[in-house]
Structures are given as C-alpha cells and as structure tokens.
Symmetry: C2
Subunit: 297 residues, 2 copies
C-alpha cells in the first residue's frame, strides 16, 4: 500500500474534523481559542488519531465511529505538549520549528489553553450526535480508557517520573521502561484500544489490539530516542541530541544504541504477531508499525 498517501489523506480527514470540533477563533474569549488552535494546527503528524481510525477499521468499524474520539485524542496529546513545554517543565522555546505556545501567548494563557484542550476532548467525546451514532455501550468504555491512560497512572505519571529522573546518572532500565510505557505509550495504547472498542471489537480482537498498541507504543518511543541521536534537526523539529544534553532517561542511554535498535525491531515483530489473526483490513496498522522503526534509518 501507499503509506505516505494514506497518512496524508488521514491527516487531512482528522484536520477537517478538528476544525469543526474546536471553538472558532472568533468565539469568546478569542485569546484562548486562538492559543488552542495555534498548537492543534501546528503540523502534527496525527499519529494517535491515525492509529485509532486504523484500529477501528481493522475490527470492522467505519471511520465515522472513531473520528470524534480520534480528534479528542489529538486534543489531549496537544495539551500535553503545551504543558510539557512550559518554563516550569521542559522550558522549550520551539516545537516543530515554531515558537511554543507560551512564547506566543504567555504562560497563563498557555496553561489555560492546555486545560481547555483537555476538557474539550471530553466535550467532543460526549457530543449527543456521537453518542447516537456509536452508542453509549461503546462510547463510555472508550472514553474511560482514554481518560485513564491520560491521567496520573498513565501519561501524566510518565511525565512525572521523566522529570524526576532528569539529570540522574543511575537510571535503570525499569525506570526508562516505566517512563516510555506511560509518557508516550499510554496514549498510543489508548488510541489503538479505544479505536477497537469504538469499531465494535469482540474480546479476542480487543485483546490482540491491546497487545499491538502496548508494543508499538514502546517501539515508537525507543525509535524517538534513537532519532534524537541520529536524526537531523530538520527531521525531528528540535535540536538533535537534546535528550542527551538534558540528561534525559532514554533507551540508548541505558542499553546503548545498537541494542536499542535491536529492541525496537523486535517490538515491531511482536506487534505484527499480535495482528496475525487479522487479514487485509489490518494492513494499515502493520504498515504504520513497520514505518515506526524505519524512521530511524
């Protein structure tokens, strides 16, 4: 399949849906809505929404079953980036080559824009027409999965341990694994899993998708760590080697670059194995999984 064309098409689909779901720049108070939109439409690759849509289709659902939830997931991802970039957190001035939210709108609005995006995700997930479409028996567990993975026992927990580990010299593999499976992995797993729930997966399909989501979530972050070392500044949208400069807990720092690459490839194989019971309909998920480690080379 033409993965590039597929990803591009899905990106446009998600962007159009986000455009409709988010409050407009002229909705009052306009400053907060401008700030929310600035970061949502900052050229993200929509990895999580694309995974959610693909998982939904792989289990027999149609795109529209997962599209509002996919947008909600991107809102949550965007809020986490805005807050991570704040001076009190990673203190980043640039993200994807553009000034970070607080650099443009100030710290207070950036905090509130993150808060509002997180909240907006749950507004989108509860829209009456969406409930009418997919039914509460799918929507409520999918929403709960997303919330749980975004919270203190998921993404936020990963960010906490990441911060607390920064600059420490004695970080072990278990800690790096905790950070990766929570900070990045949790939302990726939730994307795949909630997409499958919304698409009407049975127990076996949901278990397979959960395994797939967990595994590529970790592979994705290891590949990111590798890219931070080997990628160009243009490729990664920030300075190459910034993790190392900051003393971040990464896979390569703990187990070396070669072993990290081997592990990433191995995880992709495990992820592909999890999909063995699926046919053609899971091909996009397989291609995305392969692409994750191919990025590094």
């Amino acid at each position: 399949m033409d993965l590039k064309g597929y990803l591009k098409e899905r990106c446009v689909l998600v962007d159009n849906a986000l455009e409709k779901l988010l409050p407009g720049e002229n909705d009052l108070p306009s400053s907060i809505h401008r700030a929310m939109r600035y970061s949502v439409f900052a050229g993200g690759k929509r990895v999580r929404p694309v995974l959610m849509l693909a998982a939904c289709e792989a289990v027999g659902g149609v795109l529209e079953d997962a599209l509002p939830a996919a947008c909600a997931m991107e809102m949550i991802h965007t809020y986490s980036l805005i807050h991570d970039d704040l001076p009190a957190m990673d203190d980043d001035d640039f993200r994807r080559g553009r000034p970070t939210n607080h650099k443009v709108f100030g710290e207070a609005i950036a905090i509130l824009a993150g808060d509002a995006l997180l909240t907006e995700a749950f507004i989108a997930l509860g829209a009456p027409e969406y409930v009418a479409r997919v039914g509460a028996e799918r929507l409520v567990p999918a929403t709960r999965e997303i919330a749980f993975c975004a919270g203190s026992r998921g993404m936020v927990g990963g960010q906490v341990v990441d911060m607390e580990s920064e600059g420490k010299s004695d970080i072990d593999l278990a800690t790096v694994q905790y950070i990766h499976t929570h900070k990045t992995g949790a939302l990726i797993k939730a994307s795949v899993k909630s997409g499958a729930i919304l698409g009407g997966a049975d127990d076996a399909a949901l278990a397979a998708m959960t395994k797939f989501g967990e595994t590529i979530g970790l592979a994705f972050q290891i590949a990111d760590d590798i890219l931070d070392i080997e990628g160009t500044t243009e490729q990664i949208g920030k300075d190459a080697g910034s993790d190392q400069a900051r003393g971040k807990a990464t896979y390569p720092a703990v187990m070396g670059l070669a072993e990290s690459k081997r592990r990433a490839r191995e995880l992709v194989e495990i992820a592909l194995d999890a999909l063995s019971a699926f046919g053609e309909e899971a091909e996009p998920l397989r291609e995305i999984a392969r692409y994750i480690v191919a990025r590094e080379s």
Copy 2:
C-alpha cells in the same frame, strides 16, 4: 432544617467518596498523588458536590446516583484552584490558610496535579459500576454538561477574561457579569443541572433546576466579592480586600457595595422562585441558596 448539621454530614459523605476514588499516596508515582490529595483534602466546603447531591434528591433521585459525579466536580474545582494559584496566574502563596500546591510541591508537579485531577474527574465519571448504576442515558449528558461548563466557553473562559481585565480601570458590568457567570457560575450551574440529570429530572424539573443553578451561581460570586471586602481574613481564608488590591473586576467595584448586596438578595429570590413547583424535597437547595447571601453578614 439544621443546615449546619446537614452541610457537615454531606461534607463527610463526599470526603469519604473522594478518599475511595482518588489514587492512594502509595500509588506510583507517589509525588503526584500526594500533590493531588493535598489540595483535594485542604478543607474545602464542598459547595458544588453538596449542591449536586441536593439537586439529585430534589428531583427524586438517590444520593448514590450523583455521588461519583459530585466527587468529579470537586476534582475539577480543585484543579482550577491549583492552576489559578500558579505564579503565572494569580501567584498566590496561601489558600485556605495553607501553602498553595506549587509552594509545597513545586510548579511542575502543581501543573501536573491539576492536569491529573481534571483527568481523574472523567475517569470517575466513566467507572463501569457507575454506568451500570445510573445508566449511560443519564451519565453521558451529565458528563457532557460538566465538561462544557469547565471548558473554554465556561470556567476557563471566565478565568481568561478575569485575567485580561485585571488592573483595567474601565471594566463594565457586562464584563464582570461574564466573568462571574463563567469563572464561578458555570461549575455551580453544572453541579445543579447534572445532579438533576443524574436524579432523573423530567424536562420541566431540569429547566427549573437550570434556572436555579444559573441564578445562585451568580449570587454566590457576588456574595464572595462582598465577603472579600467585609469579611475577616479568618472567614475567607486569605487576606481581606485582596480583590481590590489587585484591581480585580468585581460587582462592588462596578456597582457599589449597597447595590451589590441588593442584587445578591434579589438573585436568591429569583432562585427560590425557580423552585416553586417543588415541595419538601427541595428544602435543602432553598436553605443553601439563603445561606449564600447570609454569609455576607
């Protein structure tokens, strides 16, 4: 009725439920869970949860129908206080006589504790046993109401305009009213309205409760403004006159103290009128409404 005893009893009920719903201090990462609990259990009066429970009972529901949602509402209220107190926002060192969250745990953890509490609210609202109890046909619209009122067109929007108005000398009544109905009023309205939805209100009862919630939401904030001027530091848990010192947009600043008091009393009358079709079962709501303005004297 013995309002004080009633409020105290309800407070204990909500505190016990919050205790069970929130991750424990020993759940990893413990720093974030300590920070979340520090602010949730900081002696708040649980006004919003109490209103939600009372609204649920007034329309014929039972306590348990609204209790998890009431806890979710308190988590959202607490997150908003943590973020409002941050250096980039109101920069407050004390809240209810105790050091603010960021003073104890640092800014990064305070931001994340707020994020996690907001997220935890939606985890609580989607708990499988809660869905099983009240049914998705009540839970989904109640959740959506809470999310909408907490977001950029509700509470966050009110905070944005409040910040943008600070120190300006030419604030008009419409702006103060916008701030009050959004920053404080939205969550109070959502508490009453979602409590009524969860209790199984029919259309007429829901409309009456919505009117009641909107009106006492505004009355509550006007009474707060008055208390800031007339109350003792002990009564309000922060320095008296701090709104004025900060050039905050308040009712007394725009229309004077006497007219503000008259307006607060008038709003309580309107709120009580909205409940005229209810009998004994709405007595707690009536007593709470009366108490709101009585606080000022």
